[in-house]
Symmetry: C2
Subunit: 295 residues, 2 copies
């Protein structure tokens, strides 16, 4: 199949590597000629250009740009597309994207392959990046079934775990497990830095070990990611933050009141509940590549 | 040297293994005969007994019991000790311990070797558990310098990073980097579980990956540890929780108000600040085994 990829970074480049190895013909577009050249050299694309006109013969186009330029990219792309071309994206927020793009192009289905590394750019692209990763598709009522099926057929051979859900459900779910943790974790680092005694702060830095390292990791990550989450998934994130603050207040209250029974019950509950989010046996890891939470 | 260890669990047993390999004669006391037997078999002690009278010839005794029985253990131990015997403990809270034990025994110095695994008990004991780990000593004004020096001389060959500080400073520091993260992390799990839509909760569980796994790890750990922190380090923990809630409120406010400049500055600050807590180059990891934050 002729597949287009607009945006040749970590995700676009990795998709290109895998889809080419599946026998597809991949055309790539990047703003920079240098990136086009490297994408060809790395085998991520068959041909590449800085001009969107390269997408004219594509049957499916993956939009892999940052969220901030996605709408303008699609608007500029449309004049080059045949009407039956299917568009999909890889953005990590879906409500906003679907709201912006679906009105522009009928054959659009939102997507979110949930894989990545700490790196970015074409040099960071990796083969098999998506193996066992969730790949969420968010068709809405107006999305042609054929568009969704086509994207599924293309990505399923990458050994992803395909899920379907509403864009808003996706955004609420990722607010809990991806966007809220960043703010919770960043607040932890910021709170420690507020310690008024330099000696205690120095001691805290010296004594910090794996517990602090893990809890603070995503809060000490790339600020651009946190900004993207807050900007494009603001309402779901705020909702999660409010719920989190309520729970935190409960914990504080129990400790202040020395309500050890309630605190112990809560800690037992969180210990019991966590494996459902993290175990290898959870749906996203168990090889149910063709399962759907909402077919 | 004749060294006694009361409490033959992970820490007591691991200390025994290392101190015996340094040529010391180690006598161990456990409540259970079976544990005594296993400690001998594993090479953690030279002799062991369920009776504290075995401590009569010890020059230094390490109290390695849980915090909850530490005071009663020391009270029962005292009749068996020569007056010049040095007592030290390995409890992870120091203000409460020093307050309880120092009045009972003049030659007492509080200690906290900051190493461990997720396991407990004599079977979990490991040689070299303390290599590169911080070992905090918390002498107070009334602590004889000789007692502190003696404990230092014994533990330094285990390649620990020795720190001195006031018990209250220790407790404030570990509240930030160890006890607060547990409550922050447990609150994250509990908040997610409060999601009202079963479909969204199911999706969140399926999509959770390394970010959620790391941020939720210590909040999904052994409830006994969390209870110990809250019970014995309550005031420092509450103080940290209040400061954390203030910062969290700031983050929420910025996101609600779309104050992206402030949010981005905060996220850049946390990214820049985190390495001082986690880098291998921090004092606790850099091989300064004889350094003191407060000599």
């Amino acid at each position: 199949m002729n597949i287009g990829i607009v945006g040749l970074g970590l995700i676009g480049g990795s998709l290109g590597l895998d889809l080419r190895s599946q026998g597809h013909h991949i055309s790539g577009v990047s703003r920079k000629q240098e990136t086009c050249q490297r994408a060809i050299e790395r085998g991520a694309v068959d041909d590449a250009s800085t001009s969107l006109s390269l997408m004219e013969r594509a049957e499916v186009v993956f939009i892999c740009t940052p969220l901030g330029v996605m709408r303008s990219t699609v608007a500029a792309l449309i004049p080059h597309l045949a009407p039956e071309t299917v568009l999909t994206d890889v953005g990590s927020v879906k409500g906003w994207v679907v709201e912006e793009i679906a009105p522009l192009w009928a054959n659009f289905v939102g997507g979110h392959p949930m894989a990545g590394t700490a790196e970015s750019g074409i040099e960071a692209a990796l083969p098999n990046l998506f193996v066992n990763a969730p790949y969420v598709l968010t068709p809405i009522a107006s999305t042609p079934a054929r568009a969704t099926q086509l994207v599924e057929e293309i990505v399923r051979p990458l050994q992803v775990q395909i899920y379907h859900c509403q864009p808003e459900e996706h955004d609420r779910a990722v607010a809990w497990i991806s966007h809220l943790p960043v703010m919770v974790s960043a607040s932890l680092i910021a709170a420690c830095l507020g310690e008024s005694s330099p000696a205690v702060l120095e001691m805290a830095k010296s004594l910090a070990s794996s517990g602090f390292r893990d809890t603070s990791r995503v809060g000490g990550g790339n600020p651009e990611l946190g900004m993207m989450m807050a900007t494009y998934n603001r309402s779901a994130l705020v909702r999660s933050l409010h719920a989190y603050r309520e729970i935190l207040n409960q914990f504080i209250h129990w400790i202040e009141q020395e309500n050890w029974v309630a605190l112990e019950q809560a800690l037992q509950h969180t210990r019991q509940a966590r494996p459902a989010f993290t175990d290898q046996g959870s749906p996203c890891q168990s090889g149910q590549a063709s399962s759907f939470s909402q077919p």
